[in-house]
Protein backbone atom coordinates (compact mmCIF):
# COMPACT_ATOMS: atom_id res chain seq x y z
CA UNK A 1 0.00 0.00 0.00
CA UNK A 2 2.87 2.36 0.77
CA UNK A 3 3.75 2.52 -2.91
CA UNK A 4 0.24 3.37 -4.03
CA UNK A 5 0.59 7.08 -4.58
CA UNK A 6 4.18 8.06 -4.15
CA UNK A 7 4.40 9.11 -7.76
CA UNK A 8 0.91 10.48 -8.24
CA UNK A 9 -0.33 13.91 -7.20
CA UNK A 10 -2.07 14.12 -3.85
CA UNK A 11 -5.46 15.69 -3.39
CA UNK A 12 -5.09 18.07 -0.48
CA UNK A 13 -8.39 19.87 -0.95
CA UNK A 14 -11.07 19.92 1.73
CA UNK A 15 -14.63 21.18 1.81
CA UNK A 16 -16.16 23.47 4.40
CA UNK A 17 -19.78 23.60 3.33
CA UNK A 18 -19.78 24.97 -0.21
CA UNK A 19 -16.24 26.31 0.13
CA UNK A 20 -13.42 24.26 -1.34
CA UNK A 21 -9.99 24.96 0.20
CA UNK A 22 -6.88 23.93 -1.67
CA UNK A 23 -5.44 22.44 1.49
CA UNK A 24 -6.62 21.90 5.06
CA UNK A 25 -4.25 24.37 6.76
CA UNK A 26 -5.94 27.56 7.92
CA UNK A 27 -4.57 30.60 9.74
CA UNK A 28 -6.57 31.04 12.96
CA UNK A 29 -8.58 34.17 13.63
CA UNK A 30 -6.85 36.96 15.51
CA UNK A 31 -3.41 35.66 14.71
CA UNK A 32 -3.08 36.76 11.09
CA UNK A 33 -4.82 40.10 10.88
CA UNK A 34 -5.54 40.37 7.15
CA UNK A 35 -2.45 38.52 6.00
CA UNK A 36 -0.47 41.53 4.84
CA UNK A 37 2.05 41.46 7.68
CA UNK A 38 2.92 37.81 7.17
CA UNK A 39 3.22 38.26 3.41
CA UNK A 40 6.45 40.11 4.15
CA UNK A 41 8.06 37.13 5.83
CA UNK A 42 6.49 33.99 4.35
CA UNK A 43 4.46 32.59 1.49
CA UNK A 44 0.93 32.94 2.74
CA UNK A 45 -0.48 31.46 -0.47
CA UNK A 46 0.42 28.05 0.96
CA UNK A 47 -2.32 28.43 3.52
CA UNK A 48 -5.56 26.76 2.41
CA UNK A 49 -7.29 29.80 3.89
CA UNK A 50 -6.65 32.59 6.32
CA UNK A 51 -9.21 33.61 8.90
CA UNK A 52 -9.52 37.32 9.59
CA UNK A 53 -9.53 38.92 13.02
CA UNK A 54 -13.13 38.88 14.29
CA UNK A 55 -15.17 41.90 13.20
CA UNK A 56 -17.89 43.42 15.38
CA UNK A 57 -20.72 45.75 14.50
CA UNK A 58 -19.21 48.79 16.17
CA UNK A 59 -15.57 49.82 16.29
CA UNK A 60 -13.83 48.65 19.47
CA UNK A 61 -10.68 49.98 21.07
CA UNK A 62 -10.15 46.73 22.92
CA UNK A 63 -8.60 46.22 26.33
CA UNK A 64 -5.94 48.23 28.02
CA UNK A 65 -2.37 46.94 28.16
CA UNK A 66 -0.90 44.49 29.06
CA UNK A 67 -2.74 42.31 26.60
CA UNK A 68 -0.40 39.34 26.25
CA UNK A 69 1.85 37.29 28.49
CA UNK A 70 4.12 34.30 27.94
CA UNK A 71 3.19 31.17 29.89
CA UNK A 72 4.80 27.72 29.94
CA UNK A 73 4.56 26.46 26.33
CA UNK A 74 1.87 29.00 25.55
CA UNK A 75 0.64 32.53 25.85
CA UNK A 76 -2.22 34.33 27.44
CA UNK A 77 -3.99 37.10 25.55
CA UNK A 78 -6.80 39.53 26.14
CA UNK A 79 -6.90 41.79 23.13
CA UNK A 80 -10.57 42.55 23.64
CA UNK A 81 -11.66 42.38 20.01
CA UNK A 82 -9.99 45.62 19.04
CA UNK A 83 -11.24 46.37 15.55
CA UNK A 84 -12.73 48.88 13.17
CA UNK A 85 -16.34 47.71 13.18
CA UNK A 86 -18.11 46.42 10.10
CA UNK A 87 -18.64 49.75 8.29
CA UNK A 88 -15.06 50.86 8.38
CA UNK A 89 -13.91 47.29 7.71
CA UNK A 90 -15.95 47.17 4.51
CA UNK A 91 -14.60 50.52 3.41
CA UNK A 92 -10.97 50.35 4.45
CA UNK A 93 -10.05 46.69 4.73
CA UNK A 94 -12.34 44.54 2.60
CA UNK A 95 -11.18 45.76 -0.82
CA UNK A 96 -7.59 44.69 -0.12
CA UNK A 97 -8.75 41.14 0.50
CA UNK A 98 -8.92 40.70 -3.27
CA UNK A 99 -5.13 40.57 -3.20
CA UNK A 100 -4.81 37.86 -0.56
CA UNK A 101 -3.28 34.93 -2.46
CA UNK A 102 -5.54 32.32 -0.88
CA UNK A 103 -9.10 31.89 0.36
CA UNK A 104 -10.33 34.10 3.18
CA UNK A 105 -12.66 33.21 6.05
CA UNK A 106 -14.25 36.24 7.67
CA UNK A 107 -14.78 36.04 11.41
CA UNK A 108 -17.77 37.68 13.05
CA UNK A 109 -18.16 38.51 16.72
CA UNK A 110 -21.08 40.08 18.51
CA UNK A 111 -22.79 40.63 21.81
CA UNK A 112 -26.36 40.02 20.67
CA UNK A 113 -27.88 37.61 18.17
CA UNK A 114 -28.87 40.54 15.98
CA UNK A 115 -25.31 41.87 15.87
CA UNK A 116 -24.06 38.54 14.57
CA UNK A 117 -26.73 38.37 11.92
CA UNK A 118 -26.20 41.97 10.84
CA UNK A 119 -22.42 41.75 10.51
CA UNK A 120 -22.64 38.34 8.80
CA UNK A 121 -25.07 39.72 6.24
CA UNK A 122 -22.83 42.68 5.49
CA UNK A 123 -19.91 40.32 4.84
CA UNK A 124 -21.64 39.06 1.74
CA UNK A 125 -19.90 39.59 -1.58
CA UNK A 126 -16.42 40.50 -0.37
CA UNK A 127 -13.87 39.24 -2.89
CA UNK A 128 -12.07 36.08 -1.81
CA UNK A 129 -14.19 35.51 1.27
CA UNK A 130 -15.45 31.93 1.09
CA UNK A 131 -16.91 31.34 4.55
CA UNK A 132 -17.95 33.00 7.77
CA UNK A 133 -16.70 31.95 11.19
CA UNK A 134 -18.76 32.94 14.21
CA UNK A 135 -16.70 33.79 17.27
CA UNK A 136 -19.45 32.92 19.75
CA UNK A 137 -17.13 33.06 22.73
CA UNK A 138 -17.80 36.69 23.59
CA UNK A 139 -20.05 37.37 26.55
CA UNK A 140 -23.72 37.46 25.65
CA UNK A 141 -25.13 40.86 26.57
CA UNK A 142 -28.70 39.59 26.75
CA UNK A 143 -27.87 36.75 29.12
CA UNK A 144 -25.81 38.22 31.91
CA UNK A 145 -22.45 37.80 30.36
CA UNK A 146 -22.56 34.07 29.70
CA UNK A 147 -20.93 33.21 26.38
CA UNK A 148 -23.07 32.17 23.44
CA UNK A 149 -20.94 29.04 23.09
CA UNK A 150 -21.71 27.96 26.69
CA UNK A 151 -25.29 26.84 26.02
CA UNK A 152 -26.87 24.79 23.21
CA UNK A 153 -29.82 27.18 23.00
CA UNK A 154 -27.78 30.35 22.65
CA UNK A 155 -25.35 29.00 20.08
CA UNK A 156 -28.34 27.67 18.12
CA UNK A 157 -29.97 31.08 18.19
CA UNK A 158 -26.88 32.77 16.75
CA UNK A 159 -26.31 30.15 14.06
CA UNK A 160 -29.96 30.10 12.99
CA UNK A 161 -30.15 33.89 12.76
CA UNK A 162 -26.94 34.06 10.73
CA UNK A 163 -27.97 31.25 8.40
CA UNK A 164 -31.16 33.10 7.63
CA UNK A 165 -29.33 36.18 6.43
CA UNK A 166 -25.90 35.09 5.19
CA UNK A 167 -25.23 33.25 1.97
CA UNK A 168 -21.72 32.02 2.76
CA UNK A 169 -21.14 28.74 4.60
CA UNK A 170 -21.14 29.26 8.35
CA UNK A 171 -18.57 27.90 10.81
CA UNK A 172 -19.41 28.10 14.51
CA UNK A 173 -16.37 28.35 16.76
CA UNK A 174 -16.69 26.55 20.07
CA UNK A 175 -14.89 27.27 23.30
CA UNK A 176 -13.52 24.61 25.62
CA UNK A 177 -14.81 26.02 28.91
CA UNK A 178 -17.89 23.82 29.18
CA UNK A 179 -18.48 20.47 30.85
CA UNK A 180 -19.65 18.79 27.66
CA UNK A 181 -19.11 20.09 24.14
CA UNK A 182 -21.29 17.47 22.46
CA UNK A 183 -24.75 18.98 23.03
CA UNK A 184 -23.41 22.40 22.06
CA UNK A 185 -21.93 21.06 18.85
CA UNK A 186 -25.13 19.20 18.05
CA UNK A 187 -27.20 22.33 18.61
CA UNK A 188 -24.99 24.27 16.22
CA UNK A 189 -25.29 21.58 13.58
CA UNK A 190 -29.05 21.39 13.96
CA UNK A 191 -29.32 25.15 13.65
CA UNK A 192 -27.60 24.88 10.28
CA UNK A 193 -23.88 25.33 10.89
CA UNK A 194 -21.84 24.04 7.94
CA UNK A 195 -18.76 23.35 10.04
CA UNK A 196 -17.37 23.83 13.53
CA UNK A 197 -14.07 25.33 14.66
CA UNK A 198 -12.60 24.18 17.91
CA UNK A 199 -11.13 25.32 20.12
CA UNK A 200 -11.01 28.96 21.00
CA UNK A 201 -8.56 29.99 23.73
CA UNK A 202 -8.95 28.46 27.21
CA UNK A 203 -9.70 30.91 30.02
CA UNK A 204 -6.70 31.67 32.18
CA UNK A 205 -5.18 34.21 34.55
CA UNK A 206 -1.58 35.05 35.41
CA UNK A 207 -0.56 37.13 38.40
CA UNK A 208 2.24 39.68 38.53
CA UNK A 209 3.71 38.58 41.83
CA UNK A 210 5.97 41.60 42.22
CA UNK A 211 3.04 43.98 42.19
CA UNK A 212 0.35 41.57 43.43
CA UNK A 213 -1.82 42.38 40.44
CA UNK A 214 -3.21 40.40 37.52
CA UNK A 215 -0.73 40.51 34.66
CA UNK A 216 -3.36 41.28 32.04
CA UNK A 217 -5.29 44.51 32.30
CA UNK A 218 -8.44 42.53 31.56
CA UNK A 219 -7.54 40.09 34.39
CA UNK A 220 -8.79 37.03 32.46
CA UNK A 221 -7.21 36.07 29.17
CA UNK A 222 -7.23 33.22 26.70
CA UNK A 223 -4.56 30.55 26.92
CA UNK A 224 -3.26 29.34 23.55
CA UNK A 225 -0.27 27.51 22.13
CA UNK A 226 1.12 23.98 22.60
CA UNK A 227 0.22 23.98 26.30
CA UNK A 228 -3.45 23.51 25.37
CA UNK A 229 -3.01 20.99 22.57
CA UNK A 230 -4.20 17.95 24.54
CA UNK A 231 -7.27 19.92 25.59
CA UNK A 232 -8.00 20.83 21.99
CA UNK A 233 -7.48 17.31 20.66
CA UNK A 234 -9.85 16.10 23.36
CA UNK A 235 -12.46 18.60 22.19
CA UNK A 236 -12.18 17.44 18.57
CA UNK A 237 -12.31 13.80 19.63
CA UNK A 238 -15.49 14.35 21.64
CA UNK A 239 -17.29 16.46 19.07
CA UNK A 240 -16.31 14.14 16.22
CA UNK A 241 -18.57 11.51 17.70
CA UNK A 242 -21.50 13.90 17.99
CA UNK A 243 -21.82 15.70 14.65
CA UNK A 244 -21.41 14.91 10.97
CA UNK A 245 -20.33 18.36 9.70
CA UNK A 246 -16.61 19.03 9.16
CA UNK A 247 -14.50 20.12 12.11
CA UNK A 248 -11.62 22.58 12.00
CA UNK A 249 -9.26 21.63 14.80
CA UNK A 250 -6.91 24.12 16.44
CA UNK A 251 -4.98 24.71 19.61
CA UNK A 252 -1.22 24.47 19.84
CA UNK A 253 -0.40 23.14 16.39
CA UNK A 254 3.30 23.62 15.63
CA UNK A 255 4.22 20.69 13.37
CA UNK A 256 2.77 18.25 10.87
CA UNK A 257 2.66 15.67 13.64
CA UNK A 258 0.55 17.99 15.79
CA UNK A 259 -1.85 18.63 12.91
CA UNK A 260 -2.18 14.90 12.33
CA UNK A 261 -3.29 14.46 15.93
CA UNK A 262 -6.27 16.67 15.12
CA UNK A 263 -7.01 15.02 11.77
CA UNK A 264 -6.80 11.54 13.27
CA UNK A 265 -9.05 12.63 16.15
CA UNK A 266 -11.69 13.68 13.64
CA UNK A 267 -10.92 17.11 12.20
CA UNK A 268 -11.29 17.71 8.47
CA UNK A 269 -9.00 20.74 8.58
CA UNK A 270 -6.73 22.44 11.08
CA UNK A 271 -5.94 26.01 12.01
CA UNK A 272 -2.70 27.49 13.30
CA UNK A 273 -2.70 30.52 15.56
CA UNK A 274 -0.01 31.22 18.09
CA UNK A 275 2.65 29.14 16.32
CA UNK A 276 2.76 31.76 13.54
CA UNK A 277 4.22 34.04 16.20
CA UNK A 278 7.16 31.73 16.54
CA UNK A 279 7.70 30.49 13.00
CA UNK A 280 5.99 32.31 10.15
CA UNK A 281 6.74 29.31 7.90
CA UNK A 282 4.88 26.98 10.23
CA UNK A 283 2.04 26.33 7.77
CA UNK A 284 4.45 25.09 5.13
CA UNK A 285 6.13 22.78 7.62
CA UNK A 286 2.75 21.48 8.76
CA UNK A 287 1.65 20.92 5.18
CA UNK A 288 4.88 19.13 4.35
CA UNK A 289 4.42 16.93 7.41
CA UNK A 290 0.92 15.94 6.34
CA UNK A 291 2.07 15.24 2.80
CA UNK A 292 4.87 13.03 4.11
CA UNK A 293 2.37 11.11 6.24
CA UNK A 294 0.08 10.63 3.23
CA UNK A 295 2.94 9.34 1.13
CA UNK A 296 4.01 7.03 3.94
CA UNK A 297 0.50 5.62 4.21
CA UNK A 298 -0.08 5.62 0.50
CA UNK A 299 -3.22 7.66 0.68
CA UNK A 300 -4.10 10.10 -2.04
CA UNK A 301 -6.68 12.31 -0.43
CA UNK A 302 -6.09 14.23 2.75
CA UNK A 303 -9.72 13.71 3.67
CA UNK A 304 -8.99 10.05 4.21
CA UNK A 305 -6.87 10.87 7.28
CA UNK A 306 -9.85 12.31 9.13
CA UNK A 307 -10.89 10.35 12.20
CA UNK A 308 -8.43 7.50 11.63
CA UNK A 309 -7.68 7.12 15.34
CA UNK A 310 -11.23 7.68 16.50
CA UNK A 311 -13.51 4.65 16.31
CA UNK A 312 -16.51 6.83 17.18
CA UNK A 313 -15.92 9.29 14.34
CA UNK A 314 -19.38 10.15 13.08
CA UNK A 315 -18.66 12.45 10.15
CA UNK A 316 -18.45 11.35 6.56
CA UNK A 317 -15.21 11.49 4.68
CA UNK A 318 -15.69 12.52 1.05
CA UNK A 319 -16.93 9.54 -0.96
CA UNK A 320 -13.73 9.19 -2.95
CA UNK A 321 -11.81 9.06 0.27
CA UNK A 322 -13.54 6.15 1.88
CA UNK A 323 -11.58 3.56 -0.07
CA UNK A 324 -8.27 4.93 1.08
CA UNK A 325 -9.10 4.49 4.74
CA UNK A 326 -6.82 1.76 6.02
CA UNK A 327 -9.03 -0.27 8.29
CA UNK A 328 -6.06 -1.78 10.06
CA UNK A 329 -5.30 1.46 11.76
CA UNK A 330 -8.43 1.10 13.75
CA UNK A 331 -7.50 -2.27 15.06
CA UNK A 332 -6.49 -2.14 18.66
CA UNK A 333 -8.14 1.23 19.24
CA UNK A 334 -8.98 1.42 22.90
CA UNK A 335 -12.50 2.48 23.62
Amino acid sequence: MAALSTSSALDMSVRIGSALLKNPIIAASGCYNRGAEYSRVTDISQYGAITLKSVTRQPRLGNEMPRTMSTPAGMLNAIGLQGPGIEYFLKADAPALAHVPTAVIASVAGFTVEEFAYVAERMDGIPNVVALELDVSCPNVDREGECFAAQPSSIAAVVAAVKKRARLPVIAKLMPNVSDLKPIAKAAQEAGADALSLINAVRGIAIDVKNALPLLANVTGGLTGPAIRPIAVHAVWEVASAVTIPLIGMGGIETGRDALEFLFAGAGAVAIGTANFRRPDVHMEVLAGIVAEMRGRGCERVTSLTGLANPRFAGSRSVEAAVARPKTHLEGAHE
Partner: protein
Protein backbone atom coordinates in the same frame (compact mmCIF):
# COMPACT_ATOMS: atom_id res chain seq x y z
CA UNK B 1 25.37 37.31 15.92
CA UNK B 2 26.23 36.93 12.31
CA UNK B 3 23.71 38.00 9.66
CA UNK B 4 24.85 40.07 6.71
CA UNK B 5 21.45 41.48 5.85
CA UNK B 6 20.42 42.47 9.35
CA UNK B 7 23.82 43.98 10.09
CA UNK B 8 23.63 46.01 6.87
CA UNK B 9 19.99 47.11 7.03
CA UNK B 10 19.61 47.79 10.75
CA UNK B 11 18.53 51.33 11.54
CA UNK B 12 18.50 53.13 14.86
CA UNK B 13 15.91 51.68 17.31
CA UNK B 14 15.15 48.66 15.20
CA UNK B 15 14.95 45.24 16.76
CA UNK B 16 15.10 41.58 15.91
CA UNK B 17 12.63 38.86 16.89
CA UNK B 18 14.45 35.71 17.94
CA UNK B 19 13.11 32.18 18.01
CA UNK B 20 14.74 30.77 21.13
CA UNK B 21 15.15 27.00 20.62
CA UNK B 22 13.36 24.65 22.95
CA UNK B 23 9.78 24.30 24.08
CA UNK B 24 7.33 26.74 22.53
CA UNK B 25 7.48 30.43 23.23
CA UNK B 26 6.65 33.41 21.09
CA UNK B 27 9.61 35.22 19.54
CA UNK B 28 11.78 37.30 21.81
CA UNK B 29 12.20 40.91 20.69
CA UNK B 30 15.61 42.41 21.40
CA UNK B 31 16.97 45.77 20.28
CA UNK B 32 19.85 45.75 17.82
CA UNK B 33 22.86 47.18 19.63
CA UNK B 34 25.99 47.28 17.49
CA UNK B 35 25.97 46.29 13.80
CA UNK B 36 29.01 46.11 11.55
CA UNK B 37 31.04 43.73 9.39
CA UNK B 38 28.17 41.34 8.83
CA UNK B 39 27.53 40.94 12.54
CA UNK B 40 25.24 42.56 15.04
CA UNK B 41 24.96 42.30 18.78
CA UNK B 42 22.22 42.49 21.37
CA UNK B 43 22.26 43.45 25.03
CA UNK B 44 20.02 41.54 27.32
CA UNK B 45 19.50 40.44 30.86
CA UNK B 46 17.97 37.18 32.12
CA UNK B 47 14.43 38.39 32.72
CA UNK B 48 12.57 35.14 32.39
CA UNK B 49 12.25 31.95 30.41
CA UNK B 50 13.30 33.09 26.95
CA UNK B 51 16.22 35.28 27.95
CA UNK B 52 17.42 32.58 30.32
CA UNK B 53 17.30 29.98 27.56
CA UNK B 54 19.04 32.38 25.20
CA UNK B 55 21.80 33.01 27.70
CA UNK B 56 22.42 29.28 28.07
CA UNK B 57 22.58 28.44 24.38
CA UNK B 58 25.83 26.90 23.22
CA UNK B 59 27.97 29.40 21.32
CA UNK B 60 27.64 28.96 17.58
CA UNK B 61 24.09 27.56 17.82
CA UNK B 62 22.13 28.78 14.76
CA UNK B 63 19.13 30.94 15.63
CA UNK B 64 16.15 31.94 13.54
CA UNK B 65 15.95 35.68 13.61
CA UNK B 66 13.44 38.01 11.93
CA UNK B 67 14.50 41.59 11.40
CA UNK B 68 15.34 44.33 11.33
CA UNK B 69 11.83 45.25 12.47
CA UNK B 70 10.09 48.45 13.47
CA UNK B 71 10.43 52.06 12.39
CA UNK B 72 13.42 54.18 13.30
CA UNK B 73 14.47 57.42 14.92
CA UNK B 74 14.39 60.33 12.48
CA UNK B 75 17.60 62.25 12.20
CA UNK B 76 17.75 65.83 13.51
CA UNK B 77 17.69 68.65 11.01
CA UNK B 78 21.00 70.21 10.22
CA UNK B 79 22.58 72.13 13.01
CA UNK B 80 20.19 70.83 15.68
CA UNK B 81 21.63 69.74 18.99
CA UNK B 82 20.59 66.20 19.91
CA UNK B 83 20.55 64.53 23.31
CA UNK B 84 20.39 60.80 23.71
CA UNK B 85 18.75 59.77 27.00
CA UNK B 86 19.25 56.12 27.89
CA UNK B 87 18.03 54.30 30.97
CA UNK B 88 19.50 50.88 31.77
CA UNK B 89 19.29 48.42 28.90
CA UNK B 90 17.44 51.09 26.92
CA UNK B 91 20.89 52.04 25.75
CA UNK B 92 20.51 49.19 23.24
CA UNK B 93 18.58 51.54 20.95
CA UNK B 94 21.42 54.01 20.68
CA UNK B 95 24.60 52.63 19.23
CA UNK B 96 23.20 52.86 15.70
CA UNK B 97 21.79 56.31 16.34
CA UNK B 98 25.03 57.54 17.84
CA UNK B 99 26.95 56.17 14.88
CA UNK B 100 24.64 57.97 12.45
CA UNK B 101 24.74 61.23 14.39
CA UNK B 102 28.50 61.00 14.45
CA UNK B 103 28.61 60.44 10.71
CA UNK B 104 26.28 63.41 10.21
CA UNK B 105 28.49 65.45 12.55
CA UNK B 106 25.43 66.39 14.60
CA UNK B 107 26.09 68.04 17.93
CA UNK B 108 25.24 65.14 20.26
CA UNK B 109 25.15 64.59 23.99
CA UNK B 110 24.66 61.16 25.56
CA UNK B 111 23.12 60.84 29.01
CA UNK B 112 23.34 57.31 30.30
CA UNK B 113 21.68 56.20 33.52
CA UNK B 114 21.66 53.08 35.65
CA UNK B 115 20.82 51.96 39.17
CA UNK B 116 24.42 52.10 40.24
CA UNK B 117 27.94 52.17 38.91
CA UNK B 118 28.04 48.39 38.49
CA UNK B 119 24.93 48.18 36.34
CA UNK B 120 26.02 50.69 33.70
CA UNK B 121 26.03 49.00 30.28
CA UNK B 122 27.02 50.21 26.84
CA UNK B 123 29.40 52.92 27.96
CA UNK B 124 32.51 51.54 26.33
CA UNK B 125 30.97 50.91 22.93
CA UNK B 126 29.53 54.43 22.82
CA UNK B 127 32.77 55.94 24.04
CA UNK B 128 34.54 54.04 21.27
CA UNK B 129 32.43 55.98 18.76
CA UNK B 130 34.05 59.09 20.19
CA UNK B 131 31.43 60.38 22.59
CA UNK B 132 31.74 61.70 26.10
CA UNK B 133 29.14 59.93 28.18
CA UNK B 134 27.31 61.77 30.90
CA UNK B 135 26.67 59.09 33.54
CA UNK B 136 23.84 59.23 36.08
CA UNK B 137 23.21 56.72 38.84
CA UNK B 138 20.20 56.38 41.10
CA UNK B 139 22.46 55.72 44.08
CA UNK B 140 25.08 58.31 43.21
CA UNK B 141 27.83 55.70 42.97
CA UNK B 142 29.08 57.39 39.80
CA UNK B 143 28.42 60.61 37.93
CA UNK B 144 25.25 62.59 38.48
CA UNK B 145 23.24 61.41 41.51
CA UNK B 146 19.69 61.10 40.17
CA UNK B 147 17.64 60.09 37.16
CA UNK B 148 18.57 60.75 33.55
CA UNK B 149 15.54 63.02 33.25
CA UNK B 150 16.71 65.10 36.22
CA UNK B 151 20.05 65.30 34.49
CA UNK B 152 18.50 66.44 31.21
CA UNK B 153 16.57 69.14 33.06
CA UNK B 154 19.77 70.39 34.63
CA UNK B 155 21.65 70.64 31.36
CA UNK B 156 21.37 73.31 28.67
CA UNK B 157 18.35 72.52 26.47
CA UNK B 158 18.67 70.47 23.26
CA UNK B 159 16.67 70.75 20.06
CA UNK B 160 15.77 67.09 19.96
CA UNK B 161 15.70 64.37 22.60
CA UNK B 162 15.95 60.64 21.91
CA UNK B 163 14.81 58.42 24.74
CA UNK B 164 14.78 54.73 25.52
CA UNK B 165 14.49 53.03 28.90
CA UNK B 166 11.99 51.87 31.51
CA UNK B 167 8.41 53.18 31.27
CA UNK B 168 8.70 55.49 34.30
CA UNK B 169 11.72 57.19 32.78
CA UNK B 170 10.09 57.57 29.37
CA UNK B 171 7.01 59.02 30.92
CA UNK B 172 9.03 61.60 32.86
CA UNK B 173 11.05 62.40 29.74
CA UNK B 174 7.91 62.92 27.66
CA UNK B 175 6.38 65.14 30.29
CA UNK B 176 9.52 67.25 30.44
CA UNK B 177 9.78 67.46 26.64
CA UNK B 178 6.12 68.33 26.16
CA UNK B 179 6.24 71.00 28.88
CA UNK B 180 9.46 72.44 27.58
CA UNK B 181 8.23 72.24 23.98
CA UNK B 182 11.27 70.24 22.89
CA UNK B 183 10.98 67.66 20.13
CA UNK B 184 11.35 64.21 21.60
CA UNK B 185 11.32 60.73 20.09
CA UNK B 186 11.09 57.68 22.29
CA UNK B 187 11.52 54.00 21.54
CA UNK B 188 8.98 51.99 23.52
CA UNK B 189 8.68 48.41 24.75
CA UNK B 190 5.68 46.22 25.48
CA UNK B 191 5.06 42.50 25.75
CA UNK B 192 4.99 41.32 22.17
CA UNK B 193 2.98 38.46 20.77
CA UNK B 194 3.64 38.28 17.03
CA UNK B 195 6.25 41.08 16.68
CA UNK B 196 4.83 41.68 13.19
CA UNK B 197 1.73 43.79 13.67
CA UNK B 198 -0.95 41.12 13.45
CA UNK B 199 -2.05 40.30 16.97
CA UNK B 200 -2.74 43.75 18.45
CA UNK B 201 -1.09 42.60 21.62
CA UNK B 202 1.41 45.44 21.97
CA UNK B 203 -0.52 48.65 21.68
CA UNK B 204 0.09 52.04 23.28
CA UNK B 205 -2.51 54.77 23.53
CA UNK B 206 -1.79 57.66 21.17
CA UNK B 207 -3.75 60.82 20.55
CA UNK B 208 -6.44 60.58 17.89
CA UNK B 209 -5.06 61.74 14.59
CA UNK B 210 -1.56 60.43 15.26
CA UNK B 211 -0.52 58.91 11.93
CA UNK B 212 0.70 55.81 13.73
CA UNK B 213 -2.74 55.09 15.23
CA UNK B 214 -5.30 52.73 13.71
CA UNK B 215 -7.39 55.63 12.48
CA UNK B 216 -10.73 53.90 12.69
CA UNK B 217 -13.76 55.75 14.00
CA UNK B 218 -14.69 56.07 17.62
CA UNK B 219 -17.49 53.75 18.70
CA UNK B 220 -20.76 55.39 19.80
CA UNK B 221 -20.54 54.50 23.47
CA UNK B 222 -16.74 54.47 23.75
CA UNK B 223 -15.68 56.90 26.45
CA UNK B 224 -11.98 56.70 25.74
CA UNK B 225 -10.96 59.36 23.28
CA UNK B 226 -7.66 58.10 22.03
CA UNK B 227 -6.38 55.65 19.50
CA UNK B 228 -4.04 52.69 19.79
CA UNK B 229 -0.83 52.11 17.87
CA UNK B 230 1.16 48.87 17.71
CA UNK B 231 4.59 49.24 19.26
CA UNK B 232 5.98 46.37 17.17
CA UNK B 233 4.94 47.60 13.73
CA UNK B 234 3.85 51.25 14.04
CA UNK B 235 6.75 51.90 16.47
CA UNK B 236 8.86 51.29 18.36
CA UNK B 237 9.58 55.02 17.89
CA UNK B 238 6.87 57.51 18.81
CA UNK B 239 6.85 61.26 19.28
CA UNK B 240 6.49 62.34 22.89
CA UNK B 241 3.64 64.58 21.81
CA UNK B 242 1.66 61.62 20.43
CA UNK B 243 1.93 59.20 23.33
CA UNK B 244 -0.65 59.25 26.13
CA UNK B 245 0.34 58.05 29.58
CA UNK B 246 -2.78 56.74 31.23
CA UNK B 247 -1.37 55.50 34.52
Amino acid sequence: MRDERIARDARAAQYVALDVPGTFSVRLPLGIWTARDGEFSVLFQEWGDRTRRLAHLPIGEPLSCIGPLGNQFSAPSEGQRATIVAGGLGVAAFWLLARDLKAARAHTTIVLGARSKLSIVGRDELAALGFDIDICTDDGSEGFHGSVVDRVRSRPPSDVLYGCGPPGMLRALCRYANEAGVECQISMEENFGCSLGTCWGCVVPVRRGCPQGTGYPKAPREIRDYDFARVCADGTVFRASDVLWLH
